[in-house]
């Protein structure tokens, strides 16, 4: 299997992700742990982690974050392998990563252990299954902090209970354009879920990418939290599809074809402009306006991020980066036309 962002071919559901927060009994939480404490913590988790998770996931590698260059750390954030907080505070921290990066385990983020499984499209059940297996394997070897009443014990009380955040990344350009997205955000809030823009909030969300995730973790089972999330996601997907049909066809064609023209011919391209134009391209492919591979826009959104580009082409100034980005994106689009 290859990385999640290379295979996002669904019209609305870009990716699925499950995160589990776990801690070890008798160890201070990360905000009170010293540098030596993080070192010992990494040792404990590294020893407890199985080397191989079998057919679907394969080999797991332990990475000492002290040895990871800053550009690669930032690129890991850009492809959603680690959190921004983990990137900023990575001294003596550890990362356990599968070859396809679908499984990543951050050691010493806000909790001792943060298990993450991410996949393209609508795959939330599979994500949970794998995360649950890793959790089982770890609790075989480590005394995971747990209380019968409060569930899994976490540094922040907002994660108590199942300690799980399950989420979908959704592409919602039509709901954003029609202004319905704010109303949806309000109403899912009332039932224990959140919707937030990934690259900026509301109309600022250039890429129209939104994360829908569960908020309540205590008083609900993992399965019920996932079922709630799926049922709300399906309703949002339906609303997005309805909203797409009600956009004037000629305006939509105009916007999509202009976006394609710009991306094919540009010489300087900022990441904001790239995100906004690729979002139009993705909508255009879904609506049958242009014929490009369905997985192309999301792949380029990630590969065109600043540190992903620097990883590939070396360190650059801002201006050089925008020129390199224009060249990289236009070549990729021209290749497919």
């Amino acid at each position: 299997m290859s990385s999640w962002y290379l295979q996002c071919d669904d019209d609305v559901i870009v990716s699925s992700r499950v995160r589990l927060a776990r801690n070890i009994d008798g160890i201070a939480f990360p905000s009170r742990l010293s540098d030596d404490g993080f070192k010992s913590l990494c040792g404990l988790v590294k020893d407890a982690m199985p080397d191989n998770l079998g057919a679907n996931v394969g080999k797991l590698n332990f990475i000492d974050m002290n040895l990871v260059p800053d550009t690669e750390k930032a690129a890991m954030v850009e492809r959603h392998v680690i959190s921004p907080a983990f990137c900023e505070n990575s001294k003596n921290r550890g990362l356990i990563l599968s070859n396809d990066e679908s499984v990543s385990v951050m050691v010493g983020e806000e909790d001792h252990i943060r298990i993450q499984v991410i996949m393209s499209g609508s795959n939330i059940d599979e994500c949970y299954k794998i995360a649950d297996n890793i959790d089982d394997a770890l609790s075989d070897k480590l005394k995971i902090a747990f209380d019968k009443r409060l569930g899994f014990l976490t540094e922040c009380p907002t994660n108590l209970g199942i300690g799980m955040r399950a989420s979908f990344m959704l592409h919602l350009p039509a709901l954003q354009m029609s202004g319905q997205i704010n109303k949806i955000a309000d109403s899912v809030n009332k039932i224990g879920l959140t919707v937030r823009g990934i690259y900026g909030e509301g109309s600022q969300s250039k890429a129209a990418l939104y994360q829908l995730s569960n908020q309540i973790t205590l008083g609900i089972s993992e399965q019920n939290a996932i079922d709630n999330l799926k049922s709300i996601a399906m309703q949002i997907v339906e609303k997005e599809k309805e909203a797409r049909e009600s956009i004037s066809r000629i305006r939509l064609e105009d916007a999509v074809l202009r976006a394609k023209g710009t991306l094919m011919c540009c010489k300087i391209l900022s990441s904001e402009e790239m995100m906004s134009l690729l979002s139009q391209i993705k909508l255009g492919i879904s609506m049958g306006i242009i014929d490009l591979p369905k997985e192309l826009p999301v792949r380029l959104m990630i590969e065109g991020q600043p540190n992903m580009l620097q990883k590939k082409y070396g360190n650059m100034t801002y201006d050089e980066r925008d020129i390199t980005r224009a060249d990289f994106i236009s070549k990729n689009i021209n290749n497919e036309v």
Partner: protein
């Protein structure tokens, strides 16, 4: 199906909730769904604002600390974070009302880990407060040298919080 709240508009939103093991499904129209008054604001913000309420009323016994990590309840209240897993049993009674307000429940309904693993005996990972304070002071010095005063102020507050706890 018509909305079960107003009975006028077609129900377009079907909300499944499971709270304390009781599952229910509400069928609402888009207007009633939007007006549901069980409004929840951002959970993390709620937590620290509820705690500061408590701090101001002076309802906190300042002397009790966690045996494992040395955290006092006022530190948890200030930071919105527990010091270690044991803090939840030490400060259970103090924390429960607030946990209930955030989650609407204090009954875990999910997975129970199957384990025979023994607790870790490493002292290096328990109360590392003195070391942590040393490290924070070094970081504070570095930030001041680099004239990063905002970061420095944040770290100074963290040091104060740790130093105020009972030894």
């Amino acid at each position: 199906m018509l909305c079960e709240k107003c009975g006028k508009n077609p129900a377009t939103t079907h909300i499944h909730t499971v709270i304390n093991g009781v599952s229910a499904t509400k069928h609402l129209c888009q207007f009633c769904a939007a007006n549901q008054n069980e409004k929840q604001t951002s959970l993390a913000n709620m937590f620290s604002s509820m705690f500061s309420e408590l701090l101001n009323t002076g309802a906190i016994a300042p002397t009790k600390t966690c045996d494992i990590c040395g955290t006092s309840f006022s530190s948890i209240a200030k930071s919105g974070k527990a010091g270690c897993p044991s803090c939840y049993s030490v400060f259970f009674d103090e924390l429960v009302p607030y946990i209930k307000r955030v989650h609407g429940s204090t009954v875990h309904m999910g997975k129970h880990p199957q384990t025979n693993a023994q607790p870790t005996t490493l002292v290096a990972v328990q109360n590392t407060k003195d070391k942590k304070i040393e490290e924070l002071k070094q970081a504070l010095k570095n930030h001041i040298e680099k004239e990063e005063y905002e970061l420095a102020a944040k770290i100074r507050d963290e040091i104060r919080m740790l130093e105020q706890e009972e030894k």
